[in-house]
């Protein structure tokens, strides 16, 4: 401090004096809330929710999303409130939302309570693995953001698309029996997690006219190598992200029990983007068709 020149010292003192002045200024919160009165500010939690809001052309209302909202690309540039199960009350409130649209898994419950207590409306959309569930969500979100007309249009579009897809699948059924698909959720060699019944992967497999190679359990479970050999799937379904994590298709055969299965011996492997395949957003009919077509291409 000794070597500060006079001007330097004066400047320093002025700066020091300015700090309390700045501190007593009008709070940013109030300004922001006033500026945004009359305009909705949405936080979307869950990739499907975000995609539906984009599909309703209402993306200009979104002020924040969670980590799973990575489609469309524009959503990645929005502020992220983190992982849907570990939200931070203050982080969410700092974006001054007027409404939060979230899936059932948003939490922790205490934080949801804190946000509600602060007077923010939270709309939870029930979990589902069905096409009708997507239509219901479109309508619910349309009502929440006062875009009922657009929501009705989008629902109609989806239903028409769905009908076309069903027609195509029925027109060209698989030549022999229904192909059996093994969906691999995570591919850590020490613990391969696969999909049983009542999962989003299982629903997608059935919608695409295929059959889950595994019966007799629910949810995602670690699998013994012998059960893989027993199941002997015709097809293996994985996500791009999962493949990337283990280092590509060549590594699949190294998973315990996988080597001798029909799918690996004949290289019948389908890989799709995780959010596209499992997100159950407005792109779901499209994803079902992609899965069906790829399976047909591979199995002839």
């Amino acid at each position: 401090m000794n070597n500060l020149s006079h001007t330097g010292r004066r400047r320093f003192l002025c700066a020091m004096a300015a700090i309390p002045m700045a501190w007593l200024e009008k709070p940013a919160w109030a300004e922001r809330t006033q500026a945004t009165l009359g305009r909705q500010r949405l936080i979307c939690i869950g990739s499907a929710v975000t995609e539906i809001v984009y599909a309703l052309n209402a993306s200009n209302l979104i002020v924040g999303v969670d980590t799973t909202s990575i489609y469309p690309d524009a959503a990645r540039t929005l502020p992220s409130v983190g992982y849907s199960r570990t939200l931070s009350a203050e982080g969410v409130l700092s974006l001054s939302p007027t409404q939060i649209l979230c899936t059932e898994d948003a939490g922790p419950p205490v934080v949801i309570r804190q946000i509600q207590d602060a007077g923010i409306q939270i709309r939870r959309l029930p979990a589902h693995h069905t096409f009708t569930g997507i239509c219901d969500r479109v309508i619910a979100i349309g009502q929440a953001i006062h875009q009922q007309t657009r929501a009705d249009q989008l629902k109609l579009q989806l239903q028409q698309q769905w009908a076309r897809i069903e027609d195509e699948m029925q027109a060209k059924p698989f030549p022999s029996t229904t192909p059996r698909v093994l969906y691999i959720h995570s591919m850590n060699p020490s613990q391969v997690m696969v999909s049983g019944q009542e999962t989003n992967a299982n629903a997608m497999i059935r919608y695409a006219g295929l059959r889950n190679a595994l019966d007799g359990f629910k949810g995602y479970k670690p699998l013994t190598p012998e059960a893989v050999i027993m199941a002997n799937p015709d097809l293996i379904l994985v996500t791009d992200q999962g493949l990337q994590a283990i280092g590509g298709r060549s590594q699949l055969a190294r998973l315990p029990g996988m080597e001798r299965t029909k799918a690996i011996l004949r290289q019948k492997i389908i890989s799709m983007d995780a959010v596209y395949l499992l997100g159950f957003g407005p792109r779901m009919p499209d994803a079902v068709l992609t899965l069906h077509r790829q399976a047909r291409t591979l199995l002839g």
Binding site: P79, E90, V92, L93
Partner: protein, 347 residues
């Protein structure tokens, strides 16, 4: 042997003042930092609410201040619990985790989330918020009774026996957690995993009140035990000859450790490292007189957790990072620096 004299040695007052200043600074920084911008007027509104809290003053009063205070009280509780456990076992690596208390809490939470399906049968949201903390606390206390039973009946008077019991209980709890993990569906597994990561997000004034009460009552009780704990550092037999009732002392310490760490774990999940770190930091700087180690561990634990939580909730605004990452990131290097500085005192 290079003797390094730390400035803290000149007087206990220096250490007290230092801790108080650091703590106060950390608290002021913590309540002024966060995702929501806070200005002077908001503070005026907090201290003088004209028409209730709204906007930033709402955040301050209902979210940020209770959270900072919860970090302080939980940190203090964990620090004290760690110091007590270490002095009881005469082992610098002991902490509530070693006794199996944290594992007991985790185990019952895993059962609650998986077997009772996240307490869905509880009708109101109001009550459901309480379910997991109550379960965690019961788990911690159950382990505490097991330990006490073993200490009195199976291997009376042996601290090694207690340590082995702790290890056995840890293994048992681990097995139950493993089974629940296997049975869990995707959603249950995730909620349990995030519970084990620990978080102070659930802070409320009520929790702060309960913890302050527990710490104050605990402290009144602990003060009467410090002399005996000092005697215990010489070994169980010598302590017995000095007139310390070791088995009684052990029971009291176990109850204290379980209650303090049980309360902390119940509301905040598993926050590791503080209970292990704080007492060791104090011992390295101020020597191993329990009359100093226990209270200063509370102070150091409180400051460490407050700083860690402040970083956790501000580094990725508007998202939040698990606090456990930062307790370890802060504590580890600090520990190594101090070890180098005071290595002569380790013996």
């Amino acid at each position: 042997m290079r003797q390094v004299v730390s400035p803290l040695d000149y007087s206990a007052w220096g250490a007290r003042l230092g801790l108080l200043l650091v703590g106060l600074t950390a608290f002021l920084i913590a309540v002024n930092l966060g995702a929501v911008d806070i200005h002077g007027l908001d503070w005026l509104q907090v201290f003088n609410p004209q028409n209730g809290y709204e906007g930033a003053s709402y955040v301050l009063w209902n979210i940020r201040i209770p959270r900072a205070l919860l970090a302080i009280t939980v940190g203090a509780a964990l620090g004290v619990a760690g110091a007590l456990a270490q002095s009881l076992f005469r082992n610098p690596l002991a902490d509530p985790g070693l006794l199996g208390v944290s594992a007991g809490a985790s185990c019952s939470v895993a059962i609650g989330i998986v077997i009772f399906d996240g307490f869905r049968f509880i009708p109101t949201e109001e009550l459901r918020v309480w379910a997991i903390p109550v379960f965690a606390f019961l788990g911690a206390i159950a382990v505490c009774f097991c330990l006490d039973y073993v200490a009195r009946v199976i291997s009376p008077g042996s601290i090694a026996g207690l340590l082995l019991t702790g290890i056995a209980l840890n293994a048992l709890a681990g097995a139950v957690i493993g089974l629940c993990t296997y049975l869990a569906n995707d959603e249950q597994l995730r909620s349990f995993t995030f519970w084990t990561l620990g978080s102070l997000a659930s802070a409320r004034w009520m929790m702060v009140g309960v913890l302050v009460g527990a710490i104050v009552i605990g402290w009144v009780w602990i003060r009467t035990l410090l002399q005996d704990l000092n005697a215990l550092t010489l070994g169980e037999n010598i302590a017995n000859h000095l007139g310390v009732d070791v088995s009684h002392l052990r029971t009291k310490v176990i109850v204290l450790v379980a209650t303090l760490s049980g309360l902390a774990v119940a509301w905040c999940g598993m926050i590791g490292f503080i209970g292990l770190m704080a007492p060791n930091l104090v011992r390295i700087c101020l020597g191993s007189d329990q009359k100093r180690v226990v209270p200063y561990s509370a102070g150091v634990g409180a400051i460490l957790l407050l700083i860690a939580d402040t970083i956790a909730r501000t580094i990725a605004i508007p998202a939040e990072v698990p606090v456990g990452i930062f307790t370890a990131l802060l504590g580890g290097p600090l520990f190594l620096i101090l070890l180098r500085q005071y290595r002569s005192r380790l013996d």
